[in-house]
Amino acid sequence: MKYLLLICSEGEGYDATEQELDAGPWVEEMDGRGVRLTGNRTRPAADATTVRVRDGAQLVTDGPYAETKEQMAGFDIIDCADLDEAIEIASKHPVARYGMIEIRPFWTD
C-alpha cells in the first residue's frame, strides 16, 4: 500500500538540535528497505502561496490554506505492507519525537 507521510512541525522551532532532527539516517534506512519512493523537505509556510479559482477568476493569496500551529515541513511517499508497517516507519522518523507525522493512504479503486 502507498502512503503519504506528512512531516509536521509544531510551528516555530523545535526544542531539538539539528543533529536530532537530521532525517538522513532514516532516509538511508528506508531507501535500503525499499519502502521509500520519494520525499523532500518543503520551505516553511511563510513561503507558501494558495491558489483558488472562483467563478473563473483566479485568486492567489499568501500563506498556507490553513493557519494552524502545526505546519508541514516535508513529505515522504512510502510503499509498504499495511498500516502497522507505515506506523513503524513513521515512528522512526526523527520529527516524530518533536513534531508529528500524519499517515495518509493513497486513493485506490
Partner: protein, 409 residues
C-alpha cells in the same frame, strides 16, 4: 423442531464471531463477512430441522459462510473481470507464525477492531457488531446514540480498516502489550455499558454477557497475559452481585445494604479461582488489583466482616499503578472504613482542594456520607444537595435524595 431452533440460537451466541472472523480472514471484506454469516444462519434454520443439528455447528456454519463468500466473489469476479483477484483470494491454509501458534480468527478480529488508528467509540461498537450477533439498533440503544449515528460510526470504521490498510491480525510480540491494553479497555467499557447504574434493559444485560464471554475467550487465547484473566475475574465478581444491586423499583442498593444471599456464589467462586490463577503468574496489573478488591467484598459474609484494611492497601497499590483521582476517592472510602471517617474525610478534602474531581457527583456524595457518619448533619446535607445537582442518572438522584431526607435536609 424447538430443539433445533434452540441449537441455532445457541450457535448464534457462540459462533457468530467465529464465522464472521473466518470470512474476513478469507476475503478481507467486512461487509461481505457479515452478510455471509447471516446467510449461513438462515440456511441452518432451513437445513438443520431436515438434516439434524451437525456435530460441530460452528464448523458447519463457518464452511457454509465461506462457500457463500466464494460464490459471491466468483460472481463479482465474472461481472467485473477481476478474476485475478479472486484467484488470489482463494482460501488457503492460514499462515502459521514462526512460533508455531495459530491464533484464533476471533482474536485477530478483536485486535483489528481495537486498532489504535480507530477512534475509541468505533473500537467498542465494531467489536460488538462483528463479534456478537447484536444488531446495530441494539448497540445504538445500549450506547444511547441514535441508530443512524451508530450505523455511520460502524461504516466509517470499516471503511478506514479497508482504505488505511489496517491489517487483520494479532500484532507482533513487541506491540502486544500496548495493543492488549486497548483490547482490555474496550472489553471493560463494554461491560460497564451494560453494568452502569440505571442501565437494566435487555440490551444491557446481553452486552454484559457478551463482554464476559469475550473476556473468557481473550483470557483463554492469551494465557501469557495475566491482566486478561484479571479483567475476566473482575467482571465475574461484579456480575455476581448484579441481582442485588437494584431494588424492586430499580433503585441502586449500596454494597453494605445488599442482600448477600442473592449474590451468585458460583460466579464468585469462578471469579476468585480465575483471579488466583492470574495472581500466581506474579505480574500484577490494575485489573488484577481491582479484581482482588472485588474479591474482598465478595468474600465477606456480612458488610461488617469486610476486610477494609486490605481493601485500603489494594487501592493504594492501584493508585500507584494507575494513578487517578477516582481511585484516590475510592481509597479514601476504604480508609474511612478501616481507620474511621475522620481519616477518610481528610483524604476527600485534599482531593476537593486539588480541584481534580470538580463536577464529579461521587466526590460530594462521599463527603456527605463521611460527614453524616461524623454527625455533622448540616454540612452533610449541603454536600448531599451538591451531589444531587451533579448526579447523572435518575437512580442515583433517588438514592441521594433519600439520604438527604435522612439527614433532615
Amino acid at each position: 423442531m424447538d430443539r433445533v431452533k434452540e441449537a441455532v440460537a445457541d450457535a448464534w451466541g457462540e459462533e457468530w464471531g467465529r464465522v464472521v472472523a473466518a470470512v474476513i480472514r478469507q476475503t478481507g471484506d467486512w461487509d461481505l463477512a457479515e452478510e455471509c454469516a447471516q446467510d449461513a444462519f438462515e440456511r441452518a434454520l432451513e437445513r438443520w430441522p431436515r438434516d439434524g443439528v451437525p456435530g460441530r455447528p460452528g464448523a458447519w456454519l463457518t464452511t457454509t459462510a465461506r462457500h457463500r463468500a466464494l460464490d459471491v466473489l466468483r460472481r463479482r469476479a465474472n461481472e467485473t473481470a477481476k478474476l485475478r483477484e479472486a484467484a488470489r483470494l482463494a482460501p488457503g491454509p492460514a499462515p502459521v507464525p514462526a512460533d508455531g501458534a495459530v491464533p484464533d480468527d476471533r482474536l485477530r478480529l478483536i485486535f483489528t477492531c481495537c486498532h489504535p488508528a480507530l477512534p475509541p467509540a468505533a473500537q467498542v461498537a465494531l467489536t460488538l457488531r462483528t463479534l456478537t450477533g447484536l444488531s446495530t439498533a441494539e448497540i445504538a440503544r445500549a450506547f444511547l446514540v441514535p441508530e443512524p449515528t451508530m450505523a455511520q460510526r460502524l461504516t466509517r470504521a470499516k471503511n478506514k480498516i479497508r482504505h488505511a490498510g489496517i491489517p487483520f491480525r494479532v500484532p507482533p510480540r513487541e506491540l502486544l502489550p500496548e495493543r492488549t491494553s486497548a483490547v482490555l479497555a474496550v472489553l471493560y467499557l463494554l461491560f460497564n455499558a451494560g453494568y452502569a447504574p440505571g442501565a437494566a434493559g435487555p440490551d444491557q444485560r446481553r452486552i454484559t454477557a457478551e463482554a464476559i464471554r469475550l473476556s473468557r475467550l481473550l483470557a483463554r487465547l492469551l494465557p501469557q497475559e495475566p491482566e486478561a484473566a484479571g479483567l475476566l475475574a473482575l467482571m465475574l465478581l461484579h456480575d455476581a452481585r448484579g441481582a442485588a444491586r437494584t431494588d424492586a423499583a430499580g433503585d441502586l442498593v449500596p454494597l453494605e445494604e445488599q442482600d448477600r444471599g442473592r449474590w451468585d456464589r458460583e460466579r464468585i467462586a469462578e471469579g476468585t479461582a480465575v483471579l488466583d490463577e492470574a495472581l500466581a503468574v506474579r505480574q500484577p496489573g490494575p485489573y488484577q488489583v481491582q479484581a482482588a478488591i472485588a474479591a474482598c467484598h465478595a468474600g465477606a459474609e456480612t458488610a461488617q466482616a469486610t476486610d477494609w484494611p486490605q481493601i485500603a492497601l489494594l487501592y493504594g497499590e492501584l493508585a500507584r499503578m494507575a494513578p487517578s483521582p477516582v481511585v484516590e476517592l475510592n481509597r479514601a472510602v476504604a480508609v474511612a472504613m478501616a481507620e474511621g471517617p475522620r481519616k477518610g474525610l481528610e483524604l476527600v478534602e485534599s482531593l476537593a482542594a486539588a480541584g481534580r474531581l470538580a463536577g464529579y457527583h461521587l466526590l460530594p456524595a462521599t463527603r456527605a456520607d463521611l460527614l453524616r457518619r461524623l454527625g455533622e448533619r448540616q454540612q452533610a446535607a449541603a454536600a448531599y444537595r451538591e451531589a444531587l445537582r451533579l448526579a447523572p442518572t435518575e437512580a442515583e438522584r433517588r438514592f441521594l435524595a433519600r439520604r438527604l431526607a435522612e439527614t433532615g435536609g
